[in-house]
Amino acid sequence: MTQPLNTYRSGPDETGHFGIFGGRFVAETLMPLILEVEQAYAATREDPSFQEEFDWYAKHYIGRPSPLYFAERMTEHLGGAKIYFKRDELNHTGAHKINNTLGQILLARRMGKTRIIAETGAGQHGVATATVCARFNLPCVVYMGATDIERQAPNVFRMKMLGAEVVPVTSGTGTLKDAMNDALRDWVANVESTFYIIGTAAGPHPYPAMVRDFQSIIGEEVRWQLAEYEGEGRLPDTLVASIGGGSNAIGLFHPFLDEPTVKMVGVEAAGHGIASGEHAASLNGGRPGVLHGNRTYLLQTDDGQIVDAYSISAGLDYPGIGPEHSWLHESGRVDYVAITDREALDAFQLCTRLEGIIPALEPSHALAQVIKLAPELPKDHVLVVNLCGRGDKDVFSVAKYLGVEL
């Protein structure tokens, strides 16, 4: 349970805990399987041929490295810190999600698994999973809340074109958390054949660590890419990333956690405002609990019943958060703030007009925080924000919100 005090990067411990968070809270049926994934991943991450294989597909299939881009007009407009965008929205399939699905499907292949399942909320992780399943010719079943299927018709169609079966989830409240419950139920019933590709840095150990490792390519690239602009050895001063489950944020933050000069800000979705009760801010508006295999901050009632999250951004409305974030929150290493729908929409429009980049609503939350931070910071302050997804998928909801008929 103890982490050495001089590092934030050694977690989780051998039982999968980050401080008190994380762990393996799953039914006995799944336990042998979780241990099998843990062993397989531990062996694989030490295997140079796995890293080579991952790097090859990352470069030629995903299109990595994604550029680090100096957002000159936004910097001028805000009049403070130098703002850089990490352009993970330029990845194949349009978000950071594929970094993780690539890593996990390569592991699944090595484990001899013949069937892939996944959960999805907005559909981005579902699309990224269906994509690698098509590429590696594995059958793919994606669980998606019935209400989300209605809201995200284009992504549902994309998954189907990619050959995936999309299963509507009506249990519970028919949203992302229920999709994850149903995926876990599927896994329990099909333990021999199936690998569950979890979409965020949450779930039972080893998933939070494994997803983080695959996403850490984001931060690792930032480290060397910044040299081109700022000279050798220059570290960023502030990192900003949006958080639903928190995989893009941990991917950006983790390589820098032990650099004491680097400040980090995770941005949760405040929806209609924390006080309204309609939000997705687990750290700012929840408390610790146990769900989906790990202890972490959760949105819940006094009786410990899980409450649905709300955000304009379907990718952020998850009532939990990755356990490592809960630990980084309590240890004070990372600041976690919350941005409302309205603030995110304003940032969405500003970025689109100033930079010619339509961001997804998820990173628009991070951009809104940048809009708050940058003007207060000196001009030589280097601020990197993760543009973790592109906004094409969101134009309909933005139009609706702005009252525009398409």
Binding site: G23, A27, G172, G289, V290, D302
Partner: protein
């Protein structure tokens, strides 16, 4: 753990507990037991209590009470829906404990096992929950999402508080893992006879017999077998090799079938549940007449 009967280092039953006494009595009668599962507060707190109160007379030997949870990952559609109905009707963990307390006023002998997920207990606070559970007359706990790897959370404090920690074993629990799973087990072992969620399929009699024999090599605790038992005949088949048959989804289905369009209990709902339990009990008892108790 001074109360255990040490048998070659195997987890053994504590005879002075309600669960221990009940299984000892069943052994004397030469028959297997019937464990019935009902969800607390389904479809509403009053009807649920009426169901609970009548279960022993209907033939239930041990009662499992489901603690409703919003996200029951290991349960099938029937028990998920039962939990949703109960939550909608205002059920909470505290009310579940109240229900046990009331039940105990009229029944001092039938063992009560609470079954559910960790988060509501964690939200209430482990110490407070255990104190209230013991005071209410709870005998054992089954917490689905607490495997042996998380024993420090609730298992060890529960044993300390005097409750039996009932462990689930599954077809995926292999020989290497069984000792770990059984290490802190008390009361009985709940063998989940199929891979999957509650109420979906059922295993064959031979499979069950083989699994029970395998478990018996590792423990002297009684083995209760569940998941997928729907009829008196199936219950009887399981009872031929196991020490008890567990029935859940089939009972919960009777609740669902006796609701009106607004999901309110129709008159006679509790009687319908008790009728099914009576049938299942006859199935279990019938098996004993044909089976050989010595082989159990």
């Amino acid at each position: 753990m001074s109360a255990t009967l040490p048998l070659e280092g195997l987890p053994a039953q504590r005879v002075e507990t309600r669960i221990g006494r009940r299984f000892a009595a069943l052994r004397q009668e030469g028959r297997a037991g019937l464990v019935t599962f009902v969800t607390a507060g389904d479809p509403d707190p009053d009807t649920a209590f009426e169901i609970l109160q009548g279960l022993p007379a209907a033939g239930a030997d041990v009662i499992e009470i489901g603690m409703p949870f919003s996200d029951p990952m290991a349960d099938g559609p029937a028990i998920q829906a039962a939990g949703q109905r109960a939550l909608k009707a205002g059920m909470t963990l505290r009310r579940t404990l109240d229900m046990v307390r009331r039940f105990r006023e009229g029944d001092a002998e039938t063992p009560i096992v609470l079954m559910g997920y960790y988060n509501p207990i964690y939200a209430m606070g482990v110490d407070g929950f255990l104190a209230e559970a013991v005071a209410a007359g709870v005998d054992g706990l089954i917490v689905v999402d607490l495997p042996p790897e998380e024993d420090d959370e609730l298992c060890l404090p529960a044993i300390e508080a005097g409750l039996d920690w009932i462990r689930l074993a599954t077809p995926t629990t292999d020989e290497r893992r069984l000792p770990k799973v059984l290490a802190q087990a008390g009361g009985f072992v709940y063998y989940v006879s199929i891979l999957g969620i509650t109420g979906t399929r059922s295993a064959g009699g031979d499979e069950v017999a083989a699994a029970v024999a395998r478990l018996k090599r590792h423990t002297d605790l009684p083995i209760a077998v569940g998941f997928g038992i729907r009829t008196a005949e199936q219950a009887g088949e399981v009872a031929r090799s196991a020490d008890a048959a567990v029935v859940g989804s089939a009972i919960v289905d009777v609740v669902r079938r006796n609701l009106d369009e607004e999901a309110r209990a129709k008159p006679g709902l509790a009687a319908a549940v008790h009728a099914l339990v009576g049938e299942l009990a006859r199935g279990v008892r019938g098996a004993a007449e044909h089976g050989d108790p010595a082989e159990r």
